[in-house]
């Protein structure tokens, strides 16, 4: 028997993502938020990082500073919540746990999205299977999700977006094995909404008459490759149901860990900037230790408020450490030295960023003949600090350089209780 394309089993990918994830987490424990406009703020209560459908309808944009929509919030009684990551991480783990019962082949793509490999499942029952997955996650966690199923990851992501947009699909769309449905889904998808196509590419494509995903799929392949490199060519191939991307099941070692919290208040003096640098170094050190890695090269940057009319100053310094480290004090000293060098009087700074650029595993750090390995007492100090901060809440123990009150007061003014991780914060059911 000659093997034809129809006889070769294609891959089946599903993309399951949570609807308005942070808001949904809040709503799972607080019925007073149901059917109301709700937003969640991140970055020290500065930026909008999640919106309920009702908030979206009011025109509140994603990723914008909250002060820009203060009036909309006031006029419509929009409920504002501060980010509650302890809660969101617990809920994320529950969702993932339920999905992994459907298949062990899971790619944890982001905090609220997972790719599933469903290649072993009967292809004629994929829609029903997708609905079962959706029903189980929603029932067990209270978090609504959408499911997209197709022959490739790009198509699965596209199907997921279409399922989100069209209420008649009831949150699930499988275009697997159905060319007509695939083409209709491509047609209704704007080229800028394609996975891997950013605003710059979207503008370029549209200026060449390519507005939707179907037109993109049918564009000449060599032209796409020339204009968008091999990455763009792969997206196009995947839209033709040719698999280019595999499921990535292993936890990817983080290539770059970054910390750049925008403060709620602008900083003018060098002293404030140095305290902020120390605070960012603190966070960075904690993140590095948590991942059990050390930083070898780091970058420190400062920036003024991009949204204001103030004189702008954006600058950065990179440095290489003789011995890779994750010790907060070491990073803080170096970050402060960089900030001192970059600081210019007369500016109102909005952000200090501290990024690790290259990482080394913590247990095989390359030494230097002039510098000692990490002092074991300092390693213990860091460990005790992390433990106390973990048990009693972030900010219990800080390095002195962050200042008497810690200028980087990580603002969480309207944070909901840590419903799933603190006995003192349990959600309440009334018996009265």
């Amino acid at each position: 028997m000659i093997a034809t394309v129809e006889h070769i089993r294609k891959f089946i990918f599903a993309l399951v993502d949570c609807k308005n994830f942070y808001v949904s987490c809040e709503r799972a424990f607080n019925s007073r938020l149901w059917k109301k406009p709700v937003i969640v703020l991140g970055n020290n209560d500065g930026i909008i990082i999640a919106r309920s459908d009702e908030a979206k309808q009011l025109g509140i944009p994603m990723g914008f500073p909250v002060f820009l929509v203060r009036k909309i919030i006031k006029d419509n009684d929009v409920i504002v919540k501060s980010a509650n990551f302890p809660l969101y991480f617990n809920m994320r783990d529950r969702v993932r746990g339920i999905l992994s019962e459907f298949t062990p082949h899971l790619e944890k793509y982001s905090i609220d999205e997972c790719f599933l490999d469903l290649t072993a499942f009967p292809p004629d029952q994929l829609d029903s299977y997708g609905r079962q997955i959706k029903e189980m996650v929603e029932r067990c966690t209270g978090i609504p999700v959408q499911v997209g199923i197709a022959e490739t990851k790009c198509l699965a992501k596209l199907a997921n977006k279409v399922a989100k947009k069209k209420p008649e699909l009831k949150g699930v769309l499988s275009v697997y094995g159905n060319l007509r449905w695939r083409e209709r889904a491509l047609e209704v998808t704007d080229v800028g909404d394609l996975w891997g196509v950013g605003p710059a590419y979207a503008t370029m494509l549209k200026s060449n008459g390519i507005n939707n995903a179907l037109q993109f799929r049918d564009a000449p392949e060599h032209w796409v490759q020339k204009k968008m490199t091999i990455m763009g060519a792969r997206i196009q191939a995947e839209l033709k149901a040719i698999k280019c991307h595999s499921l990535s099941e292993l936890p990817e070692p983080k290539k770059m860990i970054g910390t750049a919290a925008g403060v709620g208040v602008l900083m003018e003096t060098l002293e404030e900037m140095l305290q902020e640098a120390a605070a960012r170094a603190e966070e960075e050190g904690w993140k590095l230790r948590k991942e059990n890695v050390c930083a070898k090269e780091m970058v420190v940057w400062v920036s003024t408020n991009p949204f204001s009319a103030d004189p702008k100053h954006n600058d950065a310094r990179e440095f290489t450490l003789p011995v890779a480290t994750n010790n907060t004090s070491v990073i803080a000293k170096l970050a402060q030295a960089c900030v001192k060098e970059m600081y210019k009087n007369g500016h109102r700074y909005k952000r200090v960023g501290v990024h690790a650029l290259t990482l080394e595993p913590a247990n095989c750090v390359q030494g230097d003949i002039f510098v000692d390995y990490e002092d074991p007492k300092k390693v213990t100090l860091m460990r005790v600090m992390d433990q106390l901060n973990q048990e009693r809440g972030t900010g219990t123990v800080r390095i002195a350089a962050t200042g008497p009150t810690g200028v980087s007061r990580t603002l969480f003014q309207n944070q909901s209780p840590h419903y799933t991780s603190r006995w003192s914060d349990l959600p309440i059911a009334r018996a009265c």
């Binding site: 424990f29 019925s31 007073r32 149901w34 059917k35 109301k36 529950r94 746990g97 339920i98 029932r139 067990c140 966690t141 209270g142 009693r392 809440g393 419903y419 799933t420 603190r422 006995w423 003192s424 914060d425 349990l426 959600p427 309440i428 059911a429 009334r430 018996a431 009265c432």
Partner: protein, 162 residues
């Protein structure tokens, strides 16, 4: 590790007797002594999480008020809520339910003339009407509640915010 032996005898399909060897060495003598304690006799110690059927769908809640004392649920108790059973409610279940914009409540679910009703367990409180069109959202089924009789300082501190 235990090893197994197969009884060799007249072949009968599907009838294999597996005899685990005891770890302790068997002393050959006039009558073999009782087998000594062996790791095979190990049982896992009891853990409260054995009561949780669906860990990923289970949550701890807290309740305040006296409306459910007839069910043995008292103010300040901790509830073990399981969301897995939400589509499989049974008359008599104690559930947590809520309407949009209002607080979740804990009540007993009964059916009267095939219509669902939410009842308190205290004559001082009234049943909760369920809007026939809107319905009510069930947030979980209460499997267990925990009532504290004596709490140490450390435990009380954990239950209240530090």
């Amino acid at each position: 590790m235990a090893t197994h032996a197969r009884l060799i005898g007249p072949y009968e399909e599907h009838k294999h007797l597996i005899i685990p060897f005891l770890k302790s060495s068997v002393v050959c003598g006039s009558s073999p002594p009782a087998p000594g304690p062996s790791e095979l006799m190990m049982e896992d110690p009891l853990d409260i999480s054995d009561f949780v059927d669906h860990p990923k769908a289970s949550f701890f809640w807290k309740t305040y008020g006296d409306s459910m004392i007839g069910a043995g649920i008292f103010s300040g108790d901790i509830l073990l809520l399981d969301r897995f059973y939400i589509p499989f409610l049974v008359p008599g279940d104690v559930i947590v339910a809520a309407e949009a914009g209002r607080d979740p409540m804990v009540k007993r679910l009964v059916f009267e003339n095939k219509k669902p009703l939410l009842l308190p367990e205290n004559p001082k409180f009234k049943p909760v009407p369920i809007d026939p069109e809107e319905g009510i959202e069930v947030m979980g089924v209460v499997l267990w509640n925990f009532h504290m009789h004596r709490g140490s300082v450390a435990v009380r501190r954990k239950l209240k915010a530090v």
